[in-house]
Symmetry: C2
Subunit: 473 residues, 2 copies
């Protein structure tokens, strides 16, 4: 493809993306593709000769786009949102064109230094104290693994390799925390799930009991992970109480604020981070709720030297003349090569400003509260957890039905009915074993009428006889 | 930013990228930024109010671009190239606009299935046997860590956790291999560096001796890593011999072909993968030498179940109705969220076809051989390693100078002289302790005259008195 064709195609892509973003709300949120359908539609092997772009792009539109689930649809209420925004997309375009690799400071000083700048700006925005040093990771799963590996190595350095190491997180913590401990080589018995209170938040007293018990049998507490906004219900672990217990036990204290941390851009939500100064590391995902394209997970550490003791590697072929004067982020995590991810975050922070981001969070929290109010006021509908941020957990309990498989199946059918509309997409969880619908408000373009529509669909599901095993898929 | 402005800005970006790619060769390859200069040029905190895009973009051009090192410059000979190409950039634009997240098959069936298709096409192109199942990872460092963790868990399942586990790679293997073993928790004594032969390739006989010795003392060999194209000198470990030894010892056999594997698109280079059918896992980076934007590291495994035993996690909130019928790539690695990286690889494979990719590799290998020939023919210049692929290792040895710090410093000054031109960028390594210049031909737009210019600059460095400690930086 020569320069002239590239230029013409780049303009074609620009229009296609602009059209897509203007009309994504008219599409069905979830792809209707059947397993294997897309694979089946594509030829069995690579072409021998290169093909014209028109042919490739025609297949993109014919086969690929119908196979996509549209995360940028305003009716997106599933999981948590994976954010995006116009300035973020523009930055990603530039980054693709530049195609620089931030292996070391020298290999693009601006990539490294803008990452330092943007992450310090974000630190200020959410009220994280000075003394936290940021680096962008792909996901919170990776950031948490990075934290757990750092904690493990620090524990080994302290106590040797003989004792059993233990790691603590609430029973409501994200699966990535337990996966990280497993990958770090913790023995299964050392991976501890701390009980939660009525609001699904970790009980600091239970944590202290567990730690005391484990230390009494000679285990070494390596790591405590608290969550600010759990995935199931956005429960808020009490950081100050947990951090105090973790420090008393000499354990590394990691805070997983992947979703919830973003809310701290608004001063009225800042209390969710109370005690965060006790943390050794902290992660928040601008790609979840701060308008920045995935992947952009902001990982902060108190002590970069401790991090680098686990992650630095400096073979001769990577040494540069500037090494003693600069930060080389390749030593701050698993990968060596690094995309220029700071640009999109910087474009977003400047384009929206603190006020724009606060307004976004506030509107989503308002919409979630609105929906929660409808649930609370409606007979037979039940709210399953507090709604401190943008997520509402709820279910329908027909008169006389009690907890059990039948009630779970009833609510699963409501979920399927709602999603089958193509207008909204919700996902589910279980809370204390009960099947629970999750409405997560976090997509940039979601407005009140989208949330209202979700509620109408929920009630329609019941009205239209989902109760009677209608077989709706 | 409203729809109309986004559309206008997207066109502006399209033109900017097209201009950049047309003129990148006129820029100085390496940024002249001083440490801290970019940080210093940016304001101290995030703006309270959002800013107009014009202001942000003006700062991008004024502060950021001069701070970039231009990996897409045709005079790029450093490290290995980080590839890009017009169709790949177009795909990245679309991916940024779509902003879908491939957490599970359901969250965008096309993202998962196109990944299966594109990786199977790549498998066919490089002659990897059927029965290897591919998944895209960000980097080979992560893929190798994934392999080592899989190997560790398999060894634990086999032998329990008591014995010392051992891991083997050549002394010329990439730093990421030793880092992976460390992160996986291998004891330092269990991380073994196998001696190499005169061509810097792993000696299978030495590996067998080490394994025998280690097994005799009760260690459990968990993992053997062979390299196809080492970073220092593109040495080619003999896969068949090493794989046979690894299998005899019951160790997991991982092949790091991050750079070299791409060459196997050309049948005349296919021999470098001879014996690859013995591997349990294999990684090749299309972002290094197959025109695909970073990050795109293709990781192949023989036994996805073994991989998933280490990496799967399925909490309730991630379960979908399709789970039993589909592949969920979140269970194939560390991160949960996943960018839609398959699209760029698929655009590249279709745009260039097998012939286009073969032609690229052949031209780069030809240019490297040409440069090697100049080195071989020139008095006082010395080639430091075989040149099987696109990398030439060389140095200048003035009459009478012998190995030692003085000769190393002399060659370091040659490197600095060459890079100070702004026309080329080379990096260095050490081979058997000797400072060595590396000329890695792999940038898509590099032509013979660029390679010739590098050689002229090398000789100019000597002619212009670098020998006399000229102080050139």
């Amino acid at each position: 493809m020569d320069h002239a064709e590239f230029r013409a195609r780049a303009h074609q892509m620009a229009d296609w993306i602009a059209d897509y973003l203007e009309t994504v709300g008219d599409r069905r949120v979830v792809s209707g593709a059947r397993p294997g359908e897309i694979q089946g539609a594509l030829a069995g092997g690579p072409p021998e000769q290169g093909e014209a772009f028109d042919r490739i792009f025609a297949d993109f539109e014919r086969v690929i786009v119908p196979g996509l689930t549209h995360w940028q649809h305003p009716g997106w209420f599933g999981y948590f949102a994976s954010n995006s925004s116009p300035p973020s997309v523009l930055a990603e375009m530039l980054v693709a064109g530049l195609a620089v690799n931030g292996i070391a400071w020298q290999t693009s000083p601006a990539a490294t230094e803008l990452e330092q700048v943007a992450l310090d700006w974000l630190r200020q925005l959410i009220g994280l104290p000075e003394g936290f040093h940021g680096v962008i990771q792909d996901t919170a799963s990776t950031a948490t693994l990075t934290a757990v590996l750092t904690a493990r190595d620090a524990a080994w350095a302290r106590a040797g390799r003989s004792p059993v190491l233990s790691c603590y997180a609430s029973e409501e913590a994200h699966s990535s925390v337990f996966k990280a401990a497993r990958l770090a080589g913790f023995m299964p018995e050392g991976i501890r799930r701390v009980p939660t209170d009525a609001a699904f938040a970790m009980r600091a007293d239970a944590l202290r009991e567990m730690l005391t018990e484990d230390q009494a049998r000679g285990w070494v507490p390596a790591c405590v992970v608290a969550t600010v906004g759990t995935t199931s219900s956005t429960a808020l672990d009490p950081l100050r109480a947990i951090g105090t217990v973790a420090r008393d036990a000499g354990a590394f204290f990691h805070v997983d604020a992947a979703y919830g941390g973003a809310a701290a851009v608004a001063p009225e939500h800042r209390a969710i981070l109370d005690g965060v100064e006790l943390a050794d590391s902290f992660v928040v995902n601008p790609h979840k709720w701060l308008l920045t394209n995935f992947d952009c997970s902001a990982y902060y550490v108190r002590d970069p030297d401790l991090l680098m003791r686990s992650f630095a590697a400096l073979p001769e072929y990577l040494k540069t003349a500037a090494d003693s004067e600069v930060v080389n982020f390749r030593d701050w995590g698993i990968p060596l090569g690094r995309r220029f991810r700071a640009l999109k975050l910087w474009f977003v922070l400047r384009s929206y400003g603190a006020e724009g981001l606060r307004a976004l969070v506030r509107e989503h929290v308002r919409l979630a509260a609105l929906f929660a109010g409808w649930v609370d006021a409606a007979p037979e509908w039940q709210r399953m957890a507090p709604v401190p941020l943008g997520l509402v957990c709820f279910r329908h309990v027909p008169g006389g039905m009690t907890d059990g498989p039948e009630l779970d199946a009833h609510n699963r059918r409501i979920l399927e009915f709602m999603n089958a509309s193509g207008e909204v997409f919700l996902t589910h969880t279980t809370l204390r074993g009960r099947f629970t619908l999750r409405l997560a408000v976090g997509q940039r373009t979601t407005e009140e009428h989208h949330v209202r529509r979700a509620w109408d669909l929920a009630r329609s599901a019941v009205a239209e006889g989902v109760r009677g095993h209608s077989g709706l898929k």
